[in-house]
């Protein structure tokens, strides 16, 4: 949780808004894939803040909600391709659990596109870079995620008196 709290503030003025994306990446594949993208000098937007997790199967839906509560405009969970899980079956569970959670969010009125799931292997640096560019563009198109932020509007730019 500490990691998502370190997401830096997006600028407050609306004209300068750019999306905040929180990504939960599997340590064994997507995290390495993102690393590879960096080492390969693939350029992709810097809106993404990465939280390393041991497995996509470890991602509890509460992580996703907490990221939204903390101001994320889009949340991504990325793990190994089916069959490649370091723990044999973690991503098979993630493949049931996370889309179900996305459907639940959609049912209460949250745009399901704000919660993305992907499989990116350690070798797919290019896929990673392209996907981040795509979802950043998507997040820009969707605009600021106000549903949760509107609930916590007092947190924004608060001026304390002493």
């Amino acid at each position: 949780m500490e990691s998502t709290q370190q997401v830096e503030s997006t600028s407050a003025a609306p004209e300068e808004w750019s999306p905040s994306i929180v990504a939960f990446l599997c340590n064994w594949c997507s995290y390495a894939g993102a690393d590879l993208a960096g080492m390969s000098r693939f350029k992709y937007p810097a809106n993404i803040r990465i939280v390393k997790v041991p497995c996509s199967g470890k991602v509890d839906p509460m992580f996703v909600l907490k990221a939204f509560e903390s101001g994320a405009d889009l949340v991504l969970v990325s793990g190994c391709h089916p069959g490649d899980c370091h723990y044999a079956t973690g991503n098979y569970h993630a493949r049931r659990k996370l889309p179900t959670f996305r459907t639940l969010l959609e049912f209460v009125g949250i745009d399901p596109r704000r919660f993305q799931i992907s499989w990116v292997s350690a070798a797919e640096g290019a896929k990673w870079a392209k996907m981040v560019a795509d979802i950043t563009e998507l997040a820009e198109e969707l605009g600021p995620f106000e549903y949760f932020d509107r609930l916590s509007d007092k947190r924004k730019n608060r001026q304390c008196r002493n």
Binding site: Q5, V7, S9, K154, R158, C160, N162
Partner: protein, 346 residues
């Protein structure tokens, strides 16, 4: 029943005119409004919005003075160990509450005691000072109302600033307080009562048990199988307490993220298993029977011993909302019977 400071007679239509006038002045007016089948206090602009028939509101009057959640402090956490924090003003706009029921109004007396008996709670106090209550005698009660057994009944005027007794062609207004007098100045066509006005009959809430017998039994039966029998079906939720007009327990929590946060005061409930749980794992009230016992004892024994009044006003909400079908009236009837049996045999 208290003797009013002043009695006024008003014709039909007085309420509509009063609300109109208050709204023109910009005063916030709360009244029972029906939405999706539930009646609750909401802001109104016109008396037409008021619910026509209601026994009582779903959420008790207490929420106007003691909201379910409120910010009591705000803080920012810039990097480093420093924290900037400040108090907040209570949200206490001048408010006129119309259509409150006698049971809920007498419950305000209980809250007044709690929030002022020692330290004076500023959040409660500011709202209390800025709120004027217009109570209305109940013409209808349902099977769960038991104010006649524990409090003054459907025509009790205590706790109101202005108490309304509907008549065939208007209402008899009992002006109870200085705040009430001030509000009365905004009421048009009011004439001093001649003393022969006949208010419409109030709802009958007959005495279902002898409330005076309860404390005597509680005094002697802290350890008793009765509490297990009463508590087994209790689910341990907070519905009864949250919707009780006198229950006032609260929690204080901090909520924050990287941008800062706030300290909040939220309703809490002694039926929750974690309410008294120490971090060490020790729990002074470890099971539902001790928690149910505490809730009842608090209302009918501890509060009486401490502050000289009961903390139950007979609104019946706990019966209406209990998912397990717990009925406090039946419990109290059992207690009074047991007390009668012991005092009879002694």
């Amino acid at each position: 029943m208290k003797e009013p400071e002043q009695k006024l007679v008003v014709p039909n239509g007085w309420l509509e005119a009063l609300v109109r006038k208050l709204r023109v002045q910009g005063t916030r007016v709360l009244a029972p409004v029906e939405r999706d089948g539930a009646v609750d206090f909401r802001e109104i602009n016109s008396a037409d919005e008021m619910a026509a028939n209601y026994v009582n509101t779903r959420v008790p009057l207490k929420e106007i003075l003691f909201p379910r959640t409120e910010t009591i402090l705000e803080f920012d956490q810039p990097s480093g160990g420093d924290v900037v924090f400040s108090g907040v003003e209570a949200n206490a706009a001048p408010t006129i509450v119309i259509g409150a029921r006698p049971c809920d109004l007498s419950a305000i007396g209980v809250l007044d005691t709690v929030f002022n008996w020692d330290y004076h709670d500023t959040f409660y106090g500011q709202r209390r000072a800025n709120t004027t209550f217009v109570g209305v005698a109940c013409r209808e009660a349902d099977g769960n109302c038991f104010c006649g057994s524990v409090a003054g009944g459907a025509g009790e005027n205590e706790g109101s600033d202005v108490f309304v007794r509907p008549t065939a062609d208007g209402a008899l207004l009992e002006i109870m307080t200085e705040r009430g007098k001030k509000l009365a100045q905004s009421i048009d066509d009011a004439a001093p009562a001649a003393g022969k006005e006949e208010p419409l009959p109030v709802a009958a809430t007959e005495e279902r048990f002898d409330v005076e017998k309860i404390k005597g039994w509680l005094d002697d039966h802290f350890d008793d199988d009765f509490w297990l029998d009463v508590s087994l079906k209790c689910l341990g939720c907070g519905a009864c307490s949250y919707l009780c007009p006198t229950c006032h327990c609260f929690d204080i929590v901090d909520e924050s993220d990287w941008r800062g946060g706030e300290r909040r005061r939220n309703w809490d409930c002694c039926s929750f298993a974690l309410f008294t749980l120490h971090t060490s794992g020790h729990n002074p009230r470890p099971d539902q029977q001790s928690r149910c016992r505490n809730r009842l004892m608090h209302k009918f024994k501890y509060f009486v011993e401490r502050f000289g009044r009961r903390a139950c006003v007979g609104c019946g909400r706990c019966i209406r909302v209990c998912g397990a079908g717990q009925n406090i009236v039946n419990v109290l009837i059992d207690i009074t019977r047991a007390e009668a049996a012991t005092s009879g045999s002694a």
